[in-house]
Amino acid sequence: MAKNDIMLDLHDIHKSFFIGTPNEFEVLHGVNFSVHEGEFVSIVGQSGSGKSTLMNIIGALDRPTSGEYTLDGVDIEKAKDHELSILRNKKIGFVFQTYNLIARTNAIKNVELPMMYAGVPRGERTERAKLLLEQVGMTHRMMHNPDELSGGQKQRVAIARAMANDPAIILADEPTGALDSATGRLIMDIFHKLHEEQGKTIVLITHSPELSQETERIITLRDGDIKGESVGNWAKIKEELAC
């Protein structure tokens, strides 16, 4: 496979936290893995295994203590804070378990936000925000503030927001964790659609073994180390769901 096909590449990533006392607490002990462009990968593991910590490093929200990390050809180690902001803005779309919509700001404005930081003119970004909200089936709730939306609706708005600047990769940390299974299904379908129709690279963190089976590749994390990789079988699940 050609080098530029690799969307993200982590090599020997360590992450420690300083917890008051001089002794530091290492959460990731040398993680190696890469994700190819257009892949749909899930990361599973017990609570506290370091999934979110890894995700934050992938999302350029946090820097590893040591190790090399390249995202879409950019060496994260060498990037300045300012450059990381631009990277997060243009290349990464975050979907959080807790939605993290901006309060007192309606759905369309929330979706516009990443475009605003990217300097997209007002008219253009409103147009695109409408389009994105339509794709997640939220056209009818466009003008509502987050406190007037259900959890599933909020998450759909959050996905539309993650797509705002057409990012290279979508990072979702337990996006269905706070939703019932039917709503979770709806959200997962949106991810599948983005993956299949738009060829988006997606990294999904989940507790649920069933959901992870829907992805192409499953990475299992245990106590800060990758303990295995397996292949999912979305094709079969899709058939079962169709029945």
Partner: protein, 428 residues
């Protein structure tokens, strides 16, 4: 573009918690309101004093004899220190007709009027039960021209009145109301007797002028004292000071004369020519223009001092804003984290919070300006001045509240900007 978004965001934030916003702004509101109120009152007084003095004549020069200041003793005109060493002012020291004539010979072109007046005193005109209070002053011909009385009946003084020191007078319609029951024709030609602290003076009424009740002395009761005009020479004769010369003269310069510069010329002329040998006294010339100027400066200085004291409350208000900004940033830590995850740079976060603080301060400033104008206007009116708002004060107030917003908003905004994205996102 980001600015507009940020302003809208800040306004939405303010609206979402009106009570808290108002309390935050309160310090700014009070500070700006008091500064504006003080400036409004000060400005009203300045405008009033200016017009009043302007009315008195901006082209007026007062030529007066005053004590010479020597190096050892500092002396201001009229006040004598170390009087023991100094001779009392004598008629010898006065300005004489000769001096005046020779001066006018030389500088007549610059002089429109030479005003001479001599006060006989305040007294009561009596006729049986009827009485009226008057202020008797003799005026020369120039002065009468300059005063330009509105005559309701009769005539002004004529050449002969001055030359022969005729005992004629011009009284107010007010006076006629009191003494002649408003019958002007009865008043003209009548003689009146005025008691000035025990001395009786008799005059024939030749004219009646319209008394202008100036708006500043409010009460127009029965007992109002009006001016009774007599010829200058009559007053001098009655006071037995015909040949005394003048302690003070008022000159009205022509429009094209720069009265302030001309004041020096006049002072020089008299002092060099007539007072160089006088050891104790000299001529001092004060121009009304310079008096207006020093008066205005004095008022503005007081006003500024008061405004600065009031301005201290603005600083307190600013600290209040800073405090609430810090609280708001802590409350919104997660939002800041989310914004950073979505690509906000430190700069755009900083801008967002500085804008918020500036919006709070400007809003407070506007409310304060309105409140201040109202307060100032009420106070000025109550004190008897017509209120005039200081535009400069408003501009300064807006700029100042903006400055406070930036100054006190910077620290919290910077704190928000520097938050580590992941720490902010994880904040509970």
């Amino acid at each position: 573009m980001l600015i507009t978004e940020n302003i809208l965001l800040a306004l939405a934030g303010l609206k979402s918690n009106i009570m808290r916003s108002l309390l935050t702004m309160l310090g700014i509101i009070i500070g700006i309101a008091s500064v504006i109120a003080i400036m409004t009152v000060g400005n009203s007084i300045t405008v009033m004093v200016n017009t009043q003095m302007q009315e008195m004549g901006a082209n007026n020069l007062t030529v007066g004899v005053s004590a010479k200041s020597t190096s050892e003793e500092s002396t201001t005109s009229g006040l004598h220190f170390g009087a023991g060493n100094r001779r009392e002012m004598d008629t010898e020291d006065y300005l004489t007709d000769e001096m005046l004539d020779s001066f006018l010979q030389e500088y007549g072109d610059n002089i429109k009027y030479t005003l001479l007046s001599s006060s006989v005193g305040s007294g009561t005109a009596m006729d049986g039960d009827l009485y009226a209070y008057v202020n008797i002053t003799g005026y020369n011909e120039d002065y009468m021209d300059y005063t330009d009385l509105t005559l309701l009946a009769g005539r002004s003084f004529i050449e002969k009145d001055y030359e022969n020191a005729q005992k004629v007078c011009i009284v107010s319609d007010y006076f006629v109301n009191n003494m002649f029951d408003g019958d002007t024709s009865a008043a003209l030609g009548s003689s009146i007797e005025v008691n000035v602290s025990g001395k009786y003076y008799t005059y024939y009424i030749v004219g009646v002028y319209e008394y202008e009740n100036d708006s500043y002395s409010s009460s127009s009761t029965e007992d109002t004292t009006t001016d009774l005009y007599i010829p200058y020479d009559t007053a001098r004769a009655q006071l037995h000071t015909e040949n005394d010369g003048y302690e003070s003269i008022t000159l009205v310069t022509t429009i094209d004369t720069d009265s302030e510069a001309f004041a020096d010329t006049v002072e020089n002329y008299f002092n060099v020519k007539y007072y160089s040998n006088n050891e104790d006294y000299e001529v001092t010339v004060t121009s009304m223009a310079s008096m207006i100027e020093s008066m205005t400066t004095m008022i503005s200085t007081i006003e500024l001092a008061l405004a600065i004291i009031a301005g201290i409350s603005l600083v307190v208000g600013g600290i209040g804003v800073m405090n609430i900004m810090l609280v708001s940033i802590t409350e919104r830590t997660k939002e800041i984290g989310t914004r950073k995850a979505l690509g906000a740079t430190n700069g755009s976060i900083r801008l967002q919070f500085i804008t918020e603080s500036v919006v709070i301060c400007i809003m407070g400033g506007f409310i304060g300006i309105i409140l201040g104008i109202v307060l100032g206007a009420v106070a000025a009116t109550y004190m008897g001045y017509s209120a005039s708002v200081s535009v400069v004060a408003i501009v300064v107030a807006v700029a100042f509240s903006m400055g406070i917003g930036v100054f006190f908003g910077y620290y919290p905004a910077n704190k928000a900007a520097k938050l580590n994205p992941i720490d902010a996102l994880r904040y509970e």
